[in-house]
Amino acid sequence: MGLLTANLFWYKNQMSSPTSDQIVFEDLRPLFAEIFRVDPAQVDPNAQLGEWPSWDSMAHMDLMLALENRFGIEINAENISRLTSIPAILDHLQHQNRG
């Protein structure tokens, strides 16, 4: 099982859990911290594009590409403009996984 497949397998198993959002957020916390260049503890689970000085257009596109690579998904132009908050991103990943 490759790393990506393992991630997706783990991710899918968490989706039925009532606390899946929080768990998925915790999984992605280091990624958000790396892209937005903040301490992982400072990543707000409800953060939105424009709320942090470092979540600008370049960081947003870095995030979209990182999510594509990590989850083996394609994020089209419409979703690039829709996935502008961490809750929206988590929700999108859930739907991608179910699909």
Partner: protein, 395 residues
């Protein structure tokens, strides 16, 4: 020695939507390149090189870097056409340039630098008359901005990262008696430019402005926005170096833009941008111009291109008015409707009364391009131009 041709198979097939943008960037790869053509299937690049060009392997590797940086993982853009009147009947289909040059209505001074005679000057004034009335409908206050722009302030809005290739620097001789005397005595224009040693020139503190609206944002920096919102208008010379792409009135190094600029909350900026588009649509219908308005992106340089262009497209930040050029069956961008979100508000610390960063946007018109596209569609005889333009011409 004869011109050389170098054919390169790109490591990645260049997607159709990127062919024109990759092709224009290839001009900046190496000084030996005189022209670059990407095949319509994106599988072949043909470069024409100056006689005596060497180190082709180095050149090829630089070309591959451009292709990979721009095309790898490129997001297919969502092309949104807001208006399509390209098929409108127009009365002229020849290339107006030979006539314009013969009559000395256009004179080539250097690559991308042209002087205009009375016909084009007066036609531009006609369009300006309309743009001033459009600006007053927004109660946009008039401004005058300098041709030079601060290097420090351009750096603050990341301009050097996004558009390094098109910058035009302003410099002067260093304050040194020997340098100034040597320049006075020995400077002359050689085959490729002034023979002055680079160390004679000062450090760069100013550039020639690449856009009009930046000056307004710089003037508002580090302040609370007075009144919470504003509309302004200004016309100014803009400078964008386009290397070997500077080959006609379609791409000028020194051109003029009229802008109507909005600063305030997002709704204020977006509503005015849309209102401006609708008013322009009515004007262009009266004029009878054949054009379309579609989503577009700014010409970011290679390293930033993929992400910035995808972001602009996804958030519908830029739409261009593209006028038809009947003689070559193509279109030319003559204006744009732009929304920058809170980019300038954040980078320049322009605050709204609620403490949030201001949003900005502008509608911008390239005056020479608009006049040129008009002549391409209606010819050089004012007596047969569409009536609304004739009325303003005579008025």
């Amino acid at each position: 020695m004869a011109e050389q041709i170098l054919r390169i198979s790109p490591e990645l097939q260049i997607p159709e939507h990127l062919i024109g943008q990759v092709q224009s960037k290839l001009a900046y790869v190496d000084e030996s390149i005189t022209s670059a053509i990407v095949s319509s299937d994106g599988k072949q690049i043909e470069l024409r090189l100056r006689p005596g060009a060497d180190s082709k392997s180095d050149l090829e590797s630089k070309v591959q870097i451009v292709v990979v940086e721009m095309a790898r993982g490129a997001v297919q853009p969502k092309v949104e056409v807001l208006e399509d009147h390209l098929q409108r009947a127009t009365s002229y289909s020849a290339d107006p340039m030979p006539d314009l040059l013969n009559r000395n209505e256009v004179s080539w001074e250097y690559n991308g630098i042209y002087t205009f005679g009375p016909l084009l000057t007066r036609l531009i004034d006609v369009f300006e008359t309309y743009f001033l009335s459009l600006a007053s409908s927004f109660d946009a206050k008039p401004h005058r901005f300098p041709t030079l722009i601060s290097a420090e302030k351009l750096g603050r809005v990341n301009y050097f990262r996004a558009f390094p290739h098109s910058l035009t620097f302003a410099t002067h001789l260093r304050e040194d008696l020997n340098i100034i005397n040597d320049f006075s005595e020995y400077s002359e224009y050689g085959e490729t430019g002034l023979n002055t040693p680079p160390e004679s020139f000062s450090k760069i503190q100013a550039l020639l402005s690449p856009a009009v609206c930046y000056h307004l944002y710089f003037s508002l920096a580090d302040h609370l926005l007075p009144g919470g919102q504003l509309a302004a208008t200004a016309v100014g010379h803009c400078f964008r170096y386009e290397s070997t792409n500077l080959n006609s009135l379609e791409r000028m190094w020194d051109f003029t833009m009229r802008e109507i600029i909005f600063v305030g909350p997002a709704d204020f900026v977006l509503q005015n941008r849309e209102r401006g588009r609708q008013q322009m649509a009515e004007f262009l219908e009266r004029v009878g111009l054949a054009y379309k308005v579609e989503s577009a992106n700014d010409p970011f340089f290679v390293g930033e291109f993929r992400k910035q262009a995808a972001f602009q497209n996804a958030f519908q930040l830029k739409y261009e008015i593209r006028a038809r050029l009947p003689f070559k069956d193509s279109t030319l961008a003559v204006g744009s409707y732009n929304y920058h979100q809170d980019f300038f508000g954040r980078h320049l610390n322009i605050s709204l009364p609620d403490g949030k960063p201001a949003h900005t946007g502008c509608i911008a018109f390239g005056l020479e391009r608009l006049a040129y596209a008009f002549l391409c569609q209606f010819g050089l005889d004012p007596t047969v131009w569409p009536e609304p333009i004739r009325e303003m011409w005579n008025g």
